[in-house]
């Protein structure tokens, strides 16, 4: 029997997972959590075989939760679920210790197989995610500071405002933006935002 823990902040999605898992003889849903903190508590209590983890959640997000769980239980088997594909997102999740990555669009067809595969000790990556990672494997990653700057660009701030918000000079912000454009291969700052949204560097 594969014991599964579902972590997602949307009740309807958790219900769906529960419904689908209940049709299978060889697995059962032993717990549901709506954020990373609850997930960690439940994990300590139930020691699930496989954990399904959403990434965008309030309080403690999925990446942090994976890190926290893996630091206590290094052999925890975690499958990441997300609506937002993008190589950076996938890469971060894998780096934190996730064993598989599932886009929610593919959930219906691939969830059960993926649970079994991960339980058997395999790693799984959907074709879409693998392609994304391959495409940008050789790219320079953005630094955390550059991501901060990009986040502020995305909500429509000018360089001067970003400087004030991050306590940087306007010149520094400008050079950050220049590096961001170069690293993402963007034509201008708005193009950079679009790319960053698509690749999961920043959230919607």
């Amino acid at each position: 029997m594969i014991r599964v823990l579902a972590v997602d902040d949307h009740p309807l999605l958790r219900e769906g997972i529960a419904a689908l898992i209940s049709t299978e003889e060889d697995m059962e849903l032993i717990g549901e959590a709506s954020n990373g903190r609850e997930a960690l508590d439940l994990f300590r209590k139930c020691h699930p075989d496989v954990t399904l983890m959403d990434l965008q959640m309030p309080e403690m997000n999925g990446i942090d939760a994976i890190g926290a769980i893996r630091s206590e239980f290094p052999d925890a088997r975690i499958i990441v679920l997300t609506t937002q594909p993008g190589d950076v997102q996938v890469f971060r999740a894998l780096k934190a210790g996730a064993r598989a990555y599932l886009s929610k669009v593919m959930l219906r067809k691939e969830l059960l197989d993926t649970i079994r595969a991960v339980h058997a000790g395999q790693k799984r990556l959907s074709g879409e995610a693998a392609a994304e990672i391959a495409e940008h494997a050789a790219d320079d990653a953005l630094t955390p500071r550059e991501i901060d700057v990009l986040r502020l660009v995305a909500v429509g701030n000018a360089n001067k405002e970003i400087g004030a918000l991050l306590s940087l000079t306007e010149v520094t912000v400008k050079s950050h933006v220049k590096n961001i454009l170069a690293k993402l291969g963007a034509n201008d700052r708005t193009h950079a935002v679009t790319i960053a949204l698509k690749r999961g560097i920043i959230d919607l």
């Binding site: 219900e15 419904a19 669009v105 067809k109 405002e161 193009h191 935002v193 679009t194 698509k198």
Partner: protein, 446 residues
């Protein structure tokens, strides 16, 4: 999170204009009120001088009539008559002196009483009753010659003092009058200058203020729409899409429970279609979000539209871009695109033109979009009313109005149509720099 600060983000120009407006209104009115006050002070002084003059003149008249009556009594050579006649005269004179003194005392504070008045009045008050007594005594003793002489010698100096007093006070009053006339005309001149000057500058500043406020309102509205789209996209993504994913899993569970057969087959097909629908929905949500950030060159988009339309039409399409291409505000870009697409499809569908031309001008101060054809023109009644469903003219006008653009549609039968849209650069190219001090505020709440 930003919008609260944005409402307060009034440009410095606007603040200065507002302060100037208040300053002009207060200052202009203040000067006018001050001028009226000056005129009032002058009028008071003139009034005081006239009252003084009137009082002294009355005294003089009374003195003369007093002298005349005494002369008449003296000429009668009747001591009894004289004694009886002097009593009412004495009373009347005393009353007159008292009235004059009261009139002088009640002058307005700005009016300087003539310094000779009070001593003169005192002299009259002291000297005249004594003179009267002496004269009556002389008359009783029958010395009429001395009575006549005394009347001539003693009363005349008093009269001449009063006369000179009248003269000097009269002069003072005339002086005040001249000055009052002068001052009044100067006040009049000042007011005639100040009132139109204040009115004109107030009007200009108010007009500028109104214009700025209108522009700011458009900017705020655009910002709101961007925020609204972002919020909408996030909401759809976070709630509706997630719910759909959840429901899909439940359907899948149901499908697994169904025995093989027609029902299961149908459900599987339906689920496939639903997958597609969700994928479309998801990409629509992403478009909604990225349309608020993505640069999408207007000329490229319009070129594509024009080329597409010209494939099925005889008309030749061309597009010209003038000036350095600049990023347009995303909402503006979308609206302009829709206006242009509507106008182009009108031209291709209805104009029977040979050439259809689009011109985009990225000016420093203004953005301009012109679409013209050499076709048969839009019938005048349609141009005026723009029946719904025809030519989409009301839609074009409405969109132009919403983004604050000036729109001119020119058309004449058989000589073509031109749609000319002009938009202030500050609106077209996005927000103006905001005052720095709101950044602190935003840092706290951001």
């Amino acid at each position: 999170m930003k919008s609260a600060a944005n409402y307060l983000a009034i440009s410095p120009g606007l603040k200065i204009a507002f302060a100037l407006l208040i300053g002009m209104i207060l200052g202009g009115n203040g000067i006018i009120i001050w001028q009226f006050h000056m005129a009032r002070v002058q009028t008071d002084r003139l009034y005081g001088a006239n009252r003084q003059l009137t009082a002294v003149l009355q005294l003089q008249v009374k003195l003369l009539s007093f002298h005349q009556q005494l002369d008449d009594l003296a000429r009668s050579n009747d001591a009894q008559l004289m004694a009886a006649g002097t009593e009412p005269l004495r009373g009347a004179l005393r009353e007159q002196v008292r009235q004059t003194a009261a009139a002088i005392a009640s002058l307005p504070p700005e009016t300087q009483a003539d310094p000779a008045i009070l001593p003169t009045l005192e002299a009259i008050q002291v000297a005249l009753p004594a003179q009267l007594d002496a004269i009556v005594r002389l008359a009783n003793s029958g010395d009429w010659a001395t009575v006549q002489r005394r009347l001539g010698n003693e009363l005349t100096p008093i009269e001449s003092v009063t006369a000179s007093l009248v003269e000097s006070i009269g002069q003072q009053a005339r002086g005040e009058l001249t000055q009052a006339v002068e001052n009044t005309s100067s006040v009049q001149r000042t007011i005639l200058m100040i009132v139109p000057a204040t009115a004109i500058s107030t009007f200009c500043i108010a007009a500028f203020l109104g214009w700025s406020v209108a522009r700011r309102m458009i900017e705020v509205r655009l910002e709101e729409r961007v925020n609204e789209r972002t919020r909408l996209a996030r909401d759809l993504h976070d709630t509706l899409l997630q719910s759909f994913h959840g429901l899909m899993l439940r359907f899948q569970a149901v499908s697994k429970m169904l025995p093989e057969g027609k029902a299961k087959e149908q459900l599987e097909k339906t689920l496939e279609r639903a997958d597609q629908a969700i994928a479309e929905g998801r990409s629509a949500v992403y478009d909604l979000r990225s349309s608020t950030t993505e640069t999408n060159e207007l000329s490229e988009a319009l070129n594509a539209v024009g080329n597409e339309l010209s494939k099925q039409d005889a008309a030749e399409f061309s597009l010209v871009v003038e000036g350095a291409v600049r990023d347009l505000h995303p909402i503006i870009r979308d609206e302009l695109y829709r206006i242009a697409r509507e106008a182009l499809s009108n031209a291709f569908r209805h104009a029977r033109a040979r050439h259809i031309e689009t011109e985009i001008e990225y000016g420093e101060r203004a953005f301009r979009l012109r679409i013209r054809d050499d076709g048969q023109g839009i019938p005048a009644d349609l141009l005026d009313q723009g029946r719904p469903g025809h030519y989409g003219l009301p839609g074009i006008r409405e969109r132009a109005r919403q983004v604050g653009a000036d729109l001119t549609i020119w058309s004449r039968a058989h000589s073509g149509t031109e749609i000319d849209l002009c938009l202030a650069g500050s609106i077209a190219y996005g927000r103006p720099p905001r005052p720095a001090r709101f950044q602190l505020f935003r840092k706290k709440i951001g």
